[in-house]
Amino acid sequence: MNFELSDEQVLLREAAAGALSRVKTVEAARGALEDQVEALPDLWPLARDAGWPGLLVPESCGGAGLGGLDAMLVHVELGRVLASVPLLGHVIATAVLAADADAHAELLAQLASGERRAALVPARPPDDLESDWTVEATRGRRREPAPGIAGDAVSGFTPWVIDAPGADVLVVVGVRDGEPGALVVEASDAGVEVEHVTRFDATRSLGHVTLDGAGGQPVAAGADEIARGWYLAQGLLAGEALGAVEEALKRSVEYAKERYTFGRAIGSYQAVKHNLVEVLRRGDNLRSLIYYAGWASDSKADELAVAASAARVAADEAIDFAARQFISVHGGIGATWEHDAPFYFRRAELSRRLLGGAGDAAGRVAAELFAQSAAQSAAAAPAEL
C-alpha cells in the first residue's frame, strides 16, 4: 500500500516544471488577447524535447509507454503556467489509437516523436439514462448523435474540440451500426473542416469539426477503450486545473502576507484567510481525486469513469473559486490586465464549459452510483426464471 508519487513521477513533474519555467507563458496569453496572435509561442518543440507527445504511446511504437497518472502530472505543470501547448487533444488521441497499436504502428511512431500532431474528436459515452453516444451543440444544452461512421467514412459535426486546429490527424469517435467506433482521418482530407474558434482564453485551442464523408482508417477499439479517451480528457483537464489552482493559491498567499490594510496584513483577516484555506482545501481534494483517476486509469479500469468524473467535478469547482479569490485578494488591480489573475480567470471559465463541464461530470458520478446500486439490488434479488 503506497498512495504517493513514485520517484520517477516526481522527476517527470520536476522536469516539466523546469522546462516550462523558461517560457513566459502568461505574458504570451496577455499578448495574444491584445490581438498579437504571434505572441503565443510555439511550445510544440518544447513538448517534443520533453517527450510528452509519446507519453501514452506504447514503447513498441517509440513512445514512453507511461500511464494516465503521468500524463495528468504533466498537465498539472502545463496548467500551472497556462501553457498553450496542444498536448491534451494529442495525448487522448494516442490513448485511443493505442488500443489498436499494431494496425497504427507507423502513425503512432510519428505521433510519439511529435513529428505529426493528433487530436481526438470525442463523444460522450452513454450513461444509465441515455443509451447514445452524443456530442454537444455549438450553443445551448442540446446533444446530438455522435458522427456516423459508414464503411471507412465518417460524417457529422463535433464542436469545441480541444486542440483540433493545426492537428495533422483527427481520431474521430462516432457510431457505426449503433456501436461506438473510431476512425483516423487526415485533417487535410477534403471532407474535413476545422473551424478555429479559440477565444476568451487565448491559450486554449479549440475547433468546430465538420466531417462530410471524410475517409479514414478504422481503429479497432472496444467501447471501453473508446470511452477511455473521454475520461482521460476529464482527468487531464482536472490536472490542468490543479496546476492553476496551486499557482493562484501560492500567489494569493504571498500577496496576502505583504499587503496591509488598516494596519494589518490582509492575510491576518479571517475573511481572507478562510477563503484561502478554502482554495487549499479544494486543491487538496482535487489532488487526491487526480491520483485516484490516474491510479484507476492505470490499475482499475472499471473505476475510471467515476474517478475521472469526480476529479473533473472537483477541478471545476476548485479552479473557479481559486481564480475568483486570486482576483479578489488582489483588490481592484487583480481584475485588470496589469495582473495575471484575469488570465487564470479566463482559463477557468472557458475550461469549465468544455466536454460537459462539472455538471455533466457530476451527473456521471451519480449515474455510476445508480448503476452500481441497481446492479447490487439485482445481484441480491433471488434468481428467478
Binding site: R139, Y260, A335, T336, W337, G357, G359
Partner: protein, 401 residues
C-alpha cells in the same frame, strides 16, 4: 402600500414625459457600454439638453441651477428617461456625487465657478480618491499635497479606478497634507484641473478587455491657492459626504446595474433543453428572486428617503446582493449556453466584469464588517492603526513587505 403616484407626482411625471416626447428625437442612441470620444460628445450634448428640460440636478438647490425637488421626482425622471429609451445624464459622478459635495463643503467661489458647467455637461468631473495601496482602507492614501509659501499647493501621487478621467475637466482629489498625524486627520480635498501640467492619464484594461477605468499620475502638479474643498486637514469628512451621496445615487438608480431577470429568461428560454432543465429553472428562479428583492427594497428605501431619512449603512447589503446575483446569473448563462456565452455581446460584460466589480467601492468583506458594526452593533475588530501617525504606520508596512 401603494406604488402609484400622488396627483402632484402624476403631474410631474406627465410634464417630464411630455418634454421627453418632444425632445427625444435629439437623443443619441447608445449601444453597449463602450465609451468612444464621439459617443461622449453626443452624451454631453444630450445632458445639456436634459438640463434645459430641467432634468439634471433635480435634487440640487435652485440657487445652484437645480430644481430643488425630492428623491421621488428624481426617480420619476429616471423612470421616464428609461421608458423613453433615451440615455440619462452622462456625468452621473459629477452631478450625483461631486456637485453635492461642493454644495456642502465648497467655497462660494467654487460653487459659482464649477456647478453650472457641471450641470450642463460642459465640464465633466472625476473622483480622485482610491489609490493602489488605499482601496478598502481609504484613509490610507499617500498622494501628497504641500502648501507653498505663496499659499499655492503642489500635489504628487497616483490615483486609480478613475472613471471618466480621460474626458474630465476637473477632479475632486483626496490628498495627504500632513503625514505626521493619525491617518484620518491629515487629509485635504482639492479641485484639480485635469489638464494641469504633470497630470498623466493611463487607461486600465479590465478582464473583459474594456477600459472603463484609468490610473492617474500626479507629478508635482501646481494648484492655485483656494483649490482646497473644505478645511485643510478636513478631507476625510468631505470624502464621507461624497460617499453618502454615492449611496443615494445608487439607491435611486433602480435595479442593480441594469441587469434584469427577464433578459436572462429570454436568453435561456431560447434554448429548449435549458428551459426544461429543472436545475436551470431553479437557478434562474433563485436569481430572479434576488433581483426582485432588490427592486422592492428599492421602493422601501425610496419611501424612507421621501420621509426625509438618509440612507443608512444597510444600503451596502443591496450592493452585495446585486453583485452576487449577477455573478450567479453569469454562471448560469455560461452553463446553460456554453462557451459561446463567454464572448457574447450581451453577456460577456456580466461574466467578465463582475469579479472586478465585486472588489470595487469597498470589498464585500469591508461592507459586511461595516454593516455588522453599524447596523447590528457588533464589536469592531481590534484596530492596530488607531491614533498612530500615518508616517509611522507606513514605515511598518514597508518593513513587512
Amino acid at each position: 402600500m401603494d406604488l402609484s403616484d400622488t396627483p402632484e407626482q402624476a403631474e410631474y411625471r406627465a410634464k417630464v414625459r411630455s418634454w421627453l416626447e418632444d425632445n427625444k428625437s435629439q437623443a443619441p442612441t447608445v449601444v453597449g457600454d463602450r465609451i468612444e470620444p464621439e459617443v461622449v460628445d453626443a452624451r454631453r450634448a444630450w445632458q445639456r439638453k436634459l438640463a434645459e428640460g430641467e432634468l439634471v440636478g433635480i435634487t440640487w438647490p435652485t440657487e445652484y441651477g437645480g430644481q430643488g425637488l425630492g428623491p421621488l421626482e428624481q426617480v420619476i425622471a429616471n423612470q421616464e428617461i428609461g421608458r423613453a429609451g433615451v440615455p440619462g445624464i452622462f456625468d452621473i459622478i459629477g452631478v450625483g456625487m461631486l456637485g453635492p459635495t461642493i454644495i456642502a463643503h465648497g467655497s462660494e467661489e467654487q460653487k459659482h465657478r464649477y456647478l453650472g458647467p457641471m450641470l450642463h455637461g460642459d465640464e465633466v468631473w472625476c473622483q480622485l480618491f482610491s489609490e493602489p495601496a488605499a482601496g478598502s482602507d481609504l484613509a490610507g492614501i499617500q498622494a501628497r499635497s504641500r502648501q507653498q509659501d505663496d499659499g499655492s499647493w503642489r500635489v504628487s501621487g497616483q490615483k486609480v479606478w478613475t472613471t471618466n478621467a480621460q474626458f474630465a475637466s476637473f477632479g475632486l482629489m483626496m490628498t495627504r497634507s500632513d503625514p505626521d498625524v493619525p491617518k484620518h486627520k491629515g487629509l485635504t480635498m482639492f479641485v484639480v484641473p485635469m489638464d494641469a501640467p504633470g497630470v498623466t492619464i493611463r487607461p486600465l484594461r479590465q478582464i473583459s478587455g474594456d477600459a472603463h477605468f484609468n490610473e492617474v499620475f500626479f507629478d508635482d502638479v501646481a494648484l492655485e491657492p483656494g483649490s482646497e474643498v473644505g478645511p485643510v486637514g478636513g478631507g476625510w469628512g468631505v470624502g464621507m459626504t461624497t460617499l453618502m451621496f454615492e449611496r443615494v445615487t445608487i439607491g435611486l438608480g433602480g435595479e442593480g446595474f441594469g441587469w434584469r431577470s427577464d433578459r436572462f429568461a429570454a436568453a435561456i428560454g431560447g434554448d429548449e433543453e435549458a428551459r426544461r432543465d429543472p436545475e436551470v429553472r431553479r437557478r434562474l428562479g433563485h436569481i430572479a428572486s434576488q433581483f426582485l428583492a432588490l427592486r422592492f427594497t428599492g421602493y422601501r428605501t425610496l419611501t424612507a428617503l421621501q420621509r426625509g431619512q438618509t440612507p443608512g449603512p444597510e444600503g451596502a447589503l443591496g450592493k452585495i446582493t446585486t453583485v452576487n446575483a449577477a455573478i450567479e446569473a453569469g454562471e448560469l448563462l455560461a452553463d446553460a449556453l456554453g462557451p459561446d456565452a463567454l464572448e457574447d455581446d450581451e453577456w460577456a460584460g456580466l461574466i467578465s466584469e463582475l469579479p472586478g466589480i465585486k472588489t470595487a467601492g469597498g470589498t464585500e468583506e469591508i461592507l459586511r464588517s461595516m454593516v455588522g458594526e453599524r447596523v447590528l452593533g457588533l464589536p469592531p475588530e481590534p484596530r492596530l492603526d488607531k491614533g498612530i501617525p500615518f508616517s509611522e504606520l507606513r514605515s511598518k508596512e514597508v518593513a513587512a513587505a
